[in-house]
């Protein structure tokens, strides 16, 4: 456990805080549990190793670190000062990756049980037949019971529910020892009576069994992804429930009486009760934290289009923030499973510090997608890894100094790294370790630049007009080279770069996004009244939920929208509109708006003017605004960063292919306003920022590093 803090003006000694309310964000990652606590405009960081057996232990040791920084006991901090406590974690992600979760039973419409296994087919776009695998089996065949019932697309009951059969099967599943049951019926989105009745029966005869109706998990059509969402929700429930209880009880025992909030993959927070019912919503909350922090940055700086990136051990995650809002992707995949949940649209490619450098089938060097993982990790860690990685390249090039890695806490074996690079790749190419590393660096940069191009161009934004925000431990070494490749001129490395995701937790609002499948041909105006009624019910449901979570009903912002498509298409496009637009005909109606939105997305003249319009899902997003940290910039006097210059280091700079004595700056001595021109590197405690030749960097009033390329 360790803790350190950064206060606005340099680094003062303990005991100088004037105590007021403190907001705490804790991000439980794969290796570290990061804590950010904000009091007024003072930021304190603490860090603990993630405790995989019981994640709450790591959380409480990080809390101890923070408390001692404030010169308080944990109990004092929690009972007298903490105003908010937001947690982000990887429990759902881990449970699904490791396929460790509940024993799930399923009740499914008769005739359709096998869909749970084969879905819609699982062929990938790899050429290789040996990579074509089946979906992992989440539910054994004997745990699936077909139930006689059927509802049609209009919501009419074709085959009534066989309740006796339900009772029989529930008892059988109970005897088989299931922890949870997912109820998966066709067209429950049009008529949920059967699913609800089964839920009632289960609660009555097996009250200890956790139940998820597919209509609860996701009230949208397309049965496979809705059913998978319900099943995965059941699957991840025990570890999440256990964790939520431990954290809530632990905090309560230490005097924290307010609501504990959990960060979800949409970048919002949820209360403990919502999480207990729909634990699946916690999926992918880690990357979302960074995107939300980036959105806050966009707001603070007034940036219209911002690309953000995070490079971890195994992957590079990137997304676009347009007008301060991260983009939402619908119908997301979780691991290999299609689901109906919506997440922030974060693109991930296999380029991380642990990505392995090797040769492809042609003998051409390649980077990733295989990774050395956290163990054994890169060769230079000396944990027995033999495959050279990107981290080994950065050590070889001199970007990571072996005696100063992570503040000297982790010695690095440069020679072993070089040897592996030469034997695995260099020998075949006739290259030494440095040449090999420089080649791998360029490939990694090209891969990441292609991913950034993807998230921007495919959504109609020119990357040259975006600002790139680079965070995480490794990315600031690559980010400037990536920007140069894409002709991006503005780049920001946030202060606390490696804990940026944890910081994002404190910038989140309470978000509830719900949808309902209508399948309404917009031209059928006679159905309008029933559509409006369905919409109003959905709206009420959201308002009730948010109110229950402790927010004032009047302050809730509602965003209306829908998944719409032209008749004859199979994929919908989501579009925002205002609730009264539904009633319009002619000028400004849904038809006109959708034609515009469609052409904005897909290009001029692509709208299907002759086709009908289908409103498939009505979507309402309710947002309750939470209080945000109020960081204010300090006054800045621009001055050369000479006082931060600690010396120089011989490095090979791959972007210009030169071995150079490169100036090294110490971030702790870089005051607001300090600037220099590259080439140079800034050593931050757990990050290294590369500033290439002819680029300038300045530390601004928020202590962020602003690069002009």
């Amino acid at each position: 456990m360790c803790a350190w803090r950064f206060v606005k003006f340099g680094f003062e000694s303990k005991g100088k805080y004037k105590m007021s309310e403190i907001s705490i964000g804790i991000d439980v990652g794969g290796t570290h549990t990061d804590l950010i606590a904000i009091m007024d405009d003072q930021v304190v960081r603490a860090k603990a190793l993630t405790t995989h057996d019981d994640y709450s232990e790591g959380i409480f040791s990080a809390l101890e670190g923070a408390a001692s920084e404030f010169d308080l006991s944990v109990d004092d901090l929690l009972s007298n000062h903490a105003r908010a406590f937001v947690n982000g974690n990887t429990i759902v992600t881990n449970a699904i990756t490791e396929m460790k979760g509940a024993r799930v039973g399923v009740l499914v419409t008769s005739g359709f049980a096998d869909i749970l296994q084969f879905g819609r087919g699982n062929r990938s776009n790899d050429f290789d037949d040996q990579l074509q695998q089946n979906l992992p089996q989440t539910v054994a065949k004997e745990m699936v019971a077909e139930i006689d019932e059927r509802i049609n697309r209009d919501g009419n009951v074709v085959v009534p529910l066989d309740k006796e059969q339900v009772e029989r099967e529930v008892i059988r599943l109970k005897d088989l020892g299931v922890d949870a049951i997912a109820v998966c019926f066709l067209w429950c989105t049009r008529n949920d009576a059967h699913e609800r009745e089964v839920e009632r029966i289960i609660r009555e005869i097996a009250p200890d069994i956790f139940v998820t109706c597919s209509v609860t998990a996701a009230s949208v059509f397309r049965e496979f992804e809705r059913w998978m969402t319900a099943i995965l929700n059941c699957f991840v429930q025990p570890p999440v429930e256990n964790f939520v209880n431990k954290v809530s009880d632990g905090l309560l025992a230490r005097g924290y009486t307010r609501a504990v909030e959990f960060f979800n993959g949409l970048g919002g927070v949820l209360g403990a009760d919502e999480v207990r019912e729909l634990p699946i919503l916690l999926y992918s909350s880690g990357p979302a934290g960074g995107a939300i922090a980036a959105a806050a940055l966009a707001r603070r700086y007034g940036i219209e289009n911002l690309l953000c990136g995070d490079m971890g051990g195994t992957s590079f995650d990137t997304t676009l923030v347009h007008r301060e809002k991260p983009i939402v992707a619908q119908r997301c995949r979780i691991g290999t499973f299609d689901t109906a949940i919506s997440l922030l649209d974060i693109v991930s490619i296999g380029a991380g510090g642990g990505s392995i450098v090797g040769l492809d089938a042609r003998g051409v060097p390649k980077v990733g997608p295989q990774s050395s993982g956290s163990f054994p990790g890169p060769v230079c860690y000396g944990n027995g890894g033999t495959a050279p990685t990107i981290t080994d390249c950065m050590v070889t090039l001199g970007f990571l100094r072996p005696d100063n890695y992570l503040g000297g806490r982790h010695a690095l074996d440069v020679e072993a790294a070089k040897k592996a690079l030469v034997s695995e790749v260099g020998d075949a190419m006739g290259w030494d370790a440095v040449e090999t590393s420089a080649g791998a660096y360029k490939l990694a940069v090209a891969n990441m630049a292609n991913a950034l191009r993807g998230v921007s161009i495919q959504r109609g934004h020119d990357p040259r007009k975006c600002t790139f925000v680079a965070y995480g431990g490794a990315l600031p070494m690559f980010a400037a080279a990536i920007c140069r490749q894409l002709n991006i001129a503005d780049m920001i490395v946030p202060n606390h770069s490696s804990a940026f995701s944890a910081y994002g937790l404190l910038e989140a609002d309470y978000i509830s996004r719900k949808s309902i499948t209508l399948g309404w041909g917009v031209e059928n105006r006679d159905q309008l009244a029933s559509i409006v009624e369905a919409r109003d019910n959905l709206e009420r449901e959201i308002l009730d939920e948010i109110e229950r979570a402790g927010f004032d009903r009047e302050g809730i912002q509602l965003r209306h929208g829908a998944d719409i498509r032209y008749a004859g298409q199979l994929n919908e496009l989501y579009m925002d509109f205002s609730p009264e637009d539904l009633l319009k005909e002619g000028e400004g109606d849904l038809r006109q708006q959708f034609d515009l939105a469609y052409e904005e997305e897909f290009g001029a003249e692509t709208a299907w003017h002759d086709a009908g319009l289908m409103l498939i899902n009505y979507v309402i997003t309710g947002v309750a605004v939470r209080q945000k940290p109020d960081l204010k910039p300090v006054e800045v006097t621009r001055h050369p960063a000479d006082e931060a210059l600690t010396g120089s280091c011989s490095m090979f700079l791959p972007d210009i292919s030169e071995q150079l004595d490169t100036p090294v700056y110490d971030s702790e001595k870089m005051k607001p306003g300090a600037w220099f021109q590259g080439p140079g590197i800034i050593e931050v405690r757990d990050t290294t920022i590369y500033v290439p030749r002819e680029a300038t960097v300045e530390r601004d009033g928020y202590l962020n590093f602003i690069l002009k390329l």
């Binding site: 419409t109 005739g111 359709f112 096998d114 869909i115 296994q117 084969f118 879905g119 819609r120 087919g121 062929r123 990938s124 776009n125 790899d126 050429f127 290789d128 037949d129 040996q130 074509q132 695998q133 089946n134 004997e142 006689d148 049609n152 697309r153 074709v158 085959v159 009534p160 066709l186 067209w187 059509f221 397309r222 496979f224 992804e225 090797g358 040769l359 492809d360 089938a361 042609r362 003998g363 051409v364 060097p365 075949a428 190419m429 080649g439 360029k442 490939l443 292609n450 993807g454 495919q458 004859g568 298409q569 199979l570 994929n571 997305e601 897909f602 290009g603 692509t606 299907w608 086709a611």
Partner: protein, 744 residues
Amino acid sequence: MDKLSQDTADVARSASALDPITAEVVRCAFENIADEMAIVLLRTSGSPVLTEAKDFSAIVFDAAGRQVGVAGYVLGHFASSRIAVQEIIKKRMPDDLEPGDIFICNDPYTVGALHQGDVGIVMPIYDGEKLIGWTFTNAHLIDVGGASISGMAPEAHDCFEEAIRFPGVRAGTNGVLNPEWVSFIEVNVRVPVSFINDVRSLIAACNAGAVRMRGLVAEYGLGTLHDYIDYNIELTEKALSARIALLPDGTARTYDWVEYDGRGTADLHAVSCEMIVDGDKLKFTFTGVDQVAAFINATPSAVAGLGVMTPFLCQFAQDIPFNEGIWNCIEIDTGRPGTVVNPVVPAPVTNAHMETGARLGRMVGEVLSQVCSLSSSATLRDRVAGQAPSSGPGAAWFGVKEDGELAIIFPLDSLVAIGGGAQTTGDGQDMYGFQTTLAVSFPDVEVHELVDPFFILWRRFKVNSGGAGHNRGGMALDQGYMLWNVDNFSGSCFMAAVELPARGISGGYPGGAGRSAVIRSSDVLAQLEAGKSVSSPEKLQGTLDILPAKVSNVPLRQGDVYWAISSGGGGLGDPFHRSPELVDRDLRDARITRSAAEELYGTVVCESSDGLTVDIDGTWENRDSVRLALVPTKTLRLKDVASAGGFNSVKAGKDHWACAYCDTELASTADNWKERLAPRRRLLADLFGAVQTQVRRRQHQPVHLAERYCPTCASSLSVDIEVEEAERTPPVFTFATGQLQAAE
């Protein structure tokens, strides 16, 4: 570094003085361009054939018409696009070409379409005045006019009856469709709105590719870019050559038949495949009977794309970046014109790809397995696989919807929910699709029911559809649906393989074949009326009308239930070597029946309160006694040889073929070892009938299985398919003289 890259590691270094890192960056940029084109196409098109079945592709060419970047969903289009672009170059260059020209291509005979339903767009890319490349996009459109909907005409007698053909004509200029052409097309296809919209999507995708290509030229300069294109083609060619060189020189052969029953008789049309390995080059020679007046004849791209490139990329060149360099290592010979593998106008070809094309692909998969099994490289010896059937029951329906509008419905589920061949890495993939269609999927039940006047009654695995083997073939779909709120629809149904299913390899068994049927005048409506669940065909009363594999004008009325069974993948290795635990799991998961577990896998099945389970020890004993009865010379226990592992049943020693499990010599390598082992012959229809596996019995020229066992360990070494009255030499690799190399 894996074995194969070590073998070819010097390629990149020696190829040229150009920088391999920049070459890779340029290559990724081309792939990226093709991917962006595919995304534009996918997101703007409404056709389910594109969005779910992924029946489309986007490909980038250099100015000389060489492929440089592909976004592969239909591997067959790799051949189509090349023929199309090269034909446009030949016909239009240098004087008849302007920036923004739009050429529309769906004629299989002139511009390389797999069949007329695949509509391609070719556009030149200009940078100012300079031609810098070509873009190609292609999609299977839901209708192209002609005798039958969706471009498949099972009963047409010539290609003029089939569909409208576009031989690379200029359908627009300056990037915009010519209104004259739009009005011409509008009156010649059944669903003009969707056709024209899809063509617009194809054009939009080409335009998106052109913008990016100009960006690359600006970044690198045209000269440097071309140097790197040459270099990447050379890298690919050398890597593939080096891999081919790891195969023994000689000739692999096999044979098959294309089924056609659309004229009232169940005819088999013979085809054969020969693959000659000569150093670092491969030559494929196909022969076939005279072309037939039915839609099965293979167009040039069906041969090169479905026949050769598809299995070649999935099985052999799977990790070598695709570009023109792949083609440079391969020669294809289809012999004299006028045969089913080299047809001429007016031979009908609307199902060229799914019939003869896919059938050639199955043969090529098999000859690749033959030759890979004998490679000196352990990696290549693992590239053997059961056949992918590439045959599912397609059905396209036409009728009047509730709202009075005409509806064309082309449900993809059964057509693409086909099993994959068993792999050395595990059982074949369920619902793998056609081998040529990557990333294929089929729509949800609710997606159908929302927009189509259908009510789906069941959607489940077809039990026993995966071919038996040490590794089992992938499973296929069994689905039934009926009309909902409409009446009197009419359909075309087509399926390639109902009598000759996907074969197993290395002693593995064939997968189940497919079938389509209508349960006529059933009691389905009465049962639903009474609130009963009709969740399986077993619950229905009615007349089972089994449809021919190729048929038009099939009526579907209220009370009829359309019932389709798709085909499963071929097995790999002796099923008596399969772990009894895995057979037990398959039995519990209802992927196989008790009869299949007992007969095909030799397991002892016990009945308990827990359901059916496999007796593990009893199974090994039973397997030994079953095989001892067949092979009295047997001395070894199957359990011992099965655990020796490996998926190649036969290996080549210095002079002799030998059983790979127990080293027993089988024959001199100068001979065909199969001719030295007397096979056990069984009627396929009898065996499959006994184990409840789908196949249609042939009355005339019945189909046999020829099963050959090792005389010492009695392992199944090969299971070949024979057709009575059509004698063939059993397929075995023939080593080139003096080229014998022992597998390490």
